[in-house]
Structure formats: C-alpha cells, structure tokens
C-alpha cells in the first residue's frame, strides 16, 4: 500500500463518518461541525487529485462561507433545537430503504464497470501524468476563453447577483412603518 492509498483511506473514513454524523446527530450545531469536517476530507481528495486550487476553494467557500451561513441560520432558529425529539421525520424508514437501493445500485454499476466481475469498459488504472503542471492557470484561461466557459462564467455572476438580491429581499425584516 502506498502512502497515497493510506491518506486516501484516512480521508474517506473522515469524510463518510462525519457525513453520517451530519445526517443523524440530534444536535444541529454538532451536525454542522461534522459537516465542516466532511468538507475538509473532500478538500483532501482534491489535493490527491492534483487540483489544489479547488481544495483551497473548498476551504474558502464551504468552510469559510457556507458553513458560517448555516451556523448563523442554526443560531437564529435555535429555540426549536430541542434535543429530545427524533431528528427524523415519519418517513425515515422508507427513505433509508430508498437510499440503500439507490446507493447500492450506483456502487453495483461502478463495481461492474471497473472490476473483474463484469466487462472492463474503462481501465481502472493509474491516472495519466498531468501534461500541464499548472492546472490553475488552465482553469483561469478556460473561464475567459470564448471557446470554453465564458458564457457560464458570466451567467455565474448573474446567478450570484440574483442570489444576493433575492436573499436580501427575503431575509430583511419589513420596515416598521
């Protein structure tokens, strides 16, 4: 086992275990903490996949921004965070079976594509070496390249504008007249 594989397994355990805590913990604040840990594990995967820029973005956006929004929302709606009630709704058993079915199906497909049980469609081998070391520069160029992602790039700014305007309009309390 190489050191990369060891790191991968540690990260996978961190990500999945804290993911489970997120969906099962009664204390919402602890769930949010676990969610941050899970995000952190995902950032580790990005590093292993040689996308360090995305790993840093993951920290900056998910942990530094989205988690803060979520914790704010938890605190603002905190009065209802009673810890004795069940965290699940009435349909949770059906949800569990449905999820197991879907998850099992996806994993079955992955295993049958990549493993000796089925026909090997995609070679399950080492990644090709990166031709361009600077994947970040490649990414930056693709955002403003008219042949690539310039339209999504501009649409993203419109989406952000919409989100900003919409959420300010929704979240601001009505002016007392």
């Amino acid at each position: 086992m190489t050191s990369q594989q060891v790191i991968f397994i540690i990260l996978a355990v961190i990500t999945l275990a804290s993911g489970l805590v997120v969906v099962t913990n009664r204390n919402l604040f602890h769930a949010a903490l676990a969610m941050m840990l899970s995000f952190f594990g995902v950032a580790g995967f990005y590093v292993l996949l040689e996308a360090p820029f995305l790993a840093a973005s993951q920290l900056l956006v998910y942990i530094g921004a989205i988690s803060i929004l979520i914790i704010f929302a938890i605190m603002m709606t905190r009065r209802l965070m009673s810890t004795d009630e069940s965290p699940f709704n009435s349909q949770w058993i059906a949800a569990l079976f449905g999820t197991l079915l879907i998850g099992g199906l996806i994993i079955f497909v992955i295993v049958s594509v990549f493993s000796p049980f089925g026909d090997i469609i995609i070679a399950n081998s080492a990644p090709p070496s990166l031709a361009v070391q600077e994947s970040t520069v490649l990414l930056g160029r693709s955002f403003v390249d008219p042949d690539q992602y310039v339209i999504p790039f501009e649409i993203a700014s419109v989406l952000l504008l919409g989100a900003l305007v919409g959420s300010i309009a929704i979240a601001r309390p009505e002016k007392e007249s």
Binding site: L33, A56, S57, L59, L60, I63, I71, Q133
Partner: protein
C-alpha cells in the same frame, strides 16, 4: 552521514538537501525532512510570541511615556512574559456550566492550528520554505477563513451571552474585511502572473509597495482588521462586551487565543513583506547596485544564502510589526457601524475600481514595456485613484457635516421658539 556536514547543512538551512544527498530521494527522507520543518516552524512561532508580547508591552509603554515591564528578568523585564506563561500554566482550567464541551475545547486548538498552518508557504529564504505551493497566496486566504469558524465555536460553546454576541461581532468583522483583503491580493497576482509566494518575490524587480501602493494600503488595513488589532479590536472591546468571544476561557485555553492573535499578526507582517516588499531579497539595494553597474546580490547562489536571508526577512517583518504596534498606541477603537461602513462603502468599492484599472492598464501597455515605465504608469494610476477617492470622501464628509449642522440649527430654533412663549407666562 558526517556530523560536521550535518551541522553545516543545518546552519545553512539545507538539511533536506543534505539528507537527500546521503540517503537518496526516498519518500521517507522527505517525510523526515517535512516533520523536522514542521517542528522548526511551529516551535519558532510559539517561542517568538514570548518575545512579541514583551516587545509590544515595552514599545507601547514607551509610546505612552511609561516604563513597561521592568521587574522580572533584569532591567528590561525580559522574562516578564515567561512569568506570565508560567502563571497561565498553573491556573485551574475551568469549563463553564452548560458549555458545549466539543465546541468549547475545539476552538482554542483549531485557532492555533490555522495560525500555524499559514506559515507553511511563507519563504524565509531562497528555497527555505515549508512548501512552495503554486496556489500559495490563495492557500493562506483559505486557511485564514477557517479561523472565523473558531470564533463561532468559542462563542457558541461558552454558553454566555457576551461571548455569543462577541462572536457575532467578530464574524461580521472578519468576514467583511476578508473581501477587500482578497480583492487587494489579486493585484500583485496579476502583476506577478502567479500565486506562488516565491514567484511573487521573484517578480519584484521594483517592490510592489512602490508600484501598487494603494493595494498595499488596502491590504494593510484589512490585515489590521483580520487580526483584530486596534483600531479594529471590537472583537475584545473590554469596555463593551467584557472580552468578546473568549470571556469564558481561562488558563492556557485563553492563552491559545492570545497566542493565535500574535502569530496571526506576525504572519500578516510576513505576508506583507513577501508580497509588497520583496520578501527576503533586497530589490532596492540591487537597484542601486545596478545604477553603479555592479551585479545584483543573488542570495540563491550563495551557499549561506538562506542563513543570510533570515536577518533581511525578519528585519523587514519587524519593521511592519512595529507599525502594527505603533497604530495600536495611536488610534482609538472605531464603532461597529463605522468599521462596517469603512469596509463595505469604501474599501470594497475602492478595491473593485483598483482591480479594473490595474487590469486595463496592464493590458493597455504593450507587452515589451520597460519595467520602469510600466511601474511608473501603474504608480500614477494608483495615486490618481487614491486622490480621487479621498476627494470623494472629503466632499461627502462636508455634505454630511453641513446637513448635521443644519439639523442642529433647526433644533435650536425649535427649542427657542417653544421656550420663549413659555417664559412669558
């Protein structure tokens, strides 16, 4: 492995290269080297704080015409901080009733971790750095954004109204000032064409401080706010919210917040030096040497270059750090609405304008422009924007003052109009 070579390699800060030359490029050699580097950087950070606290107390005392620490450790009170650390170590460590134990205990740990982790990409000398990541500056921003979460953890975990209120204030402040900091850091990256810290140092033929001074000023102001230093120390505001998010912490757990603040301030100085002042190099000296036709000093080619660059680097860092202390001794604390207005209504629009102008100027100039002409035009653009912004502020300030005075006069008129008839009766 020869002990004398080992010693020389250590003193030259080339231990990693020495180990590789002896044992070959095995992975375990790199692991050993990395572990040693981590231990060195972290221990250095923990120990320098003892000195920094002493320095801060002494300098502020001098600026306020006091003596400062002068009992423990001789005439200059050199060991005062050591005594303070011992005191913190022997205090009872309390956990307040009703505290969220996870959050309460995790916060001091995490905040020091983030403060330490940022040092990984700061170059102390040519090649002497933890890891030369190609996203260096962005990595620092990402790690520093995690520290915001720690404050929320501390505030929430303490089960204290003041702590929670302090945490909310801190988050509003840190989160707000992260925006101009991020935006101002884009500008040196545009100029250097890379996010790696060492590449940015290499790009500074003329230090960026003299090419894009406005970006440096915006960065410095937001660094003040990000580290929670005066005039932006609303995080602690002893007189308003007791001590902010760490009111319930005592002993070494409190010490950790203190530690993180000082490491963070030193890091911001180091980052400023790296990005705007040529880091461990001597660009201005090299320019003067160039005028006389002498070759520039190239530390990277010297065997002892890394060791020699340390005093250069830390000399600059302590100059910037001194400015931090100076500002603390000079300016009073701002109000929370002033702090937020300064950020959102001044710094953010200003840095957006600055990015646009720098981007346009950079592309408008032909690619083969002389570095002096390029820097001169950039500097001119910066000065023009700064003058324009100040003029705008002045006009706005005059308007507001006029409006306030008019309102005040009206009030006076109303009072006298009401009061006079009453006096007749």
């Amino acid at each position: 492995m020869n002990p004398i070579d080992l010693l020389i390699a250590t003193l030259q800060l080339r231990l990693g290269e020495y180990l590789v030359s002896v044992y070959g490029s095995e992975n375990w050699v790199f692991v050993v080297r990395d572990v040693l580097t981590v231990l060195t950087i972290s221990t250095f950070c923990l120990l320098i704080v003892i000195f920094l606290i002493w320095l801060e107390r002494k300098v502020i005392a001098r600026m306020q015409d006091r003596l400062g620490p002068n009992r423990v450790g001789g005439r200059y009170g050199l060991l005062q901080t050591v005594a303070d650390v011992l005191k913190l170590l022997t205090k009872e460590s309390l956990t307040p009733a009703g505290a969220d134990k996870w959050a309460y205990n995790l916060a001091p740990l995490l905040i020091v971790m983030t403060a330490l982790l940022m040092w990984a990409v700061i170059p102390f000398g040519p090649g002497a750095m933890g890891a030369d990541l190609n996203i260096g500056v962005f990595y620092i921003l990402a790690v520093s954004s995690v520290s915001v979460v720690c404050l929320l953890l501390a505030g929430w975990g303490s089960n204290n109204k003041y702590a929670l209120l302090g945490a909310f204030r801190s988050v509003a402040q840190l989160v707000s000032y992260e925006v101009p900091m991020v935006l101002s850091l884009l500008i040196p990256i545009i100029l250097a064409g890379s996010m790696a810290t060492e590449a940015i140092i290499g790009a500074q033929y003329i230090p960026f401080l003299f090419v894009i001074p406005l970006s440096a000023v915006i960065f410095f102001i937001s660094a003040l706010a990000e580290t929670g230093r005066t005039p932006f120390d609303l995080l602690e505001a002893e007189s308003e919210i007791v001590a902010g998010f760490h009111v319930e912490y005592g002993g070494m757990k409190f010490g950790m917040f203190f530690l993180a603040e000082f490491i963070g301030t030193l890091l911001m100085s180091a980052l400023f030096v790296t990005i705007y002042w040529g880091g461990y190099t001597l660009p201005l000296v090299n320019l003067v040497l160039g005028v006389f036709g002498l070759p520039p000093i190239d530390l990277a080619s010297l065997a002892w270059g890394r060791t020699l660059s340390l005093p250069i680097f830390f000399g600059k860092v302590f100059v910037i750090y001194f400015v931090f202390i100076w500002i603390r001794a000079t300016l009073p604390r701002v109000r929370i609405d002033q702090m937020l207005n300064l950020n959102w209504k001044f710094l953010v629009p200003l840095s957006l304008v600055l990015i646009l102008v720098v981007a346009i100027v950079d592309k408008a100039l032909p690619a083969n422009t002389n570095v002096w002409a390029y820097s001169g035009i950039m500097l001119l653009a910066n000065i023009l924007i700064a003058v324009g912004a100040i003029e705008l502020l002045r006009r706005r300030g005059r308007q507001e003052r006029a409006a306030a005075e008019a309102a005040h006069d009206d009030e006076l008129a109303d009072i006298s109009a009401e009061a006079l008839p009453a006096a007749h009766h």
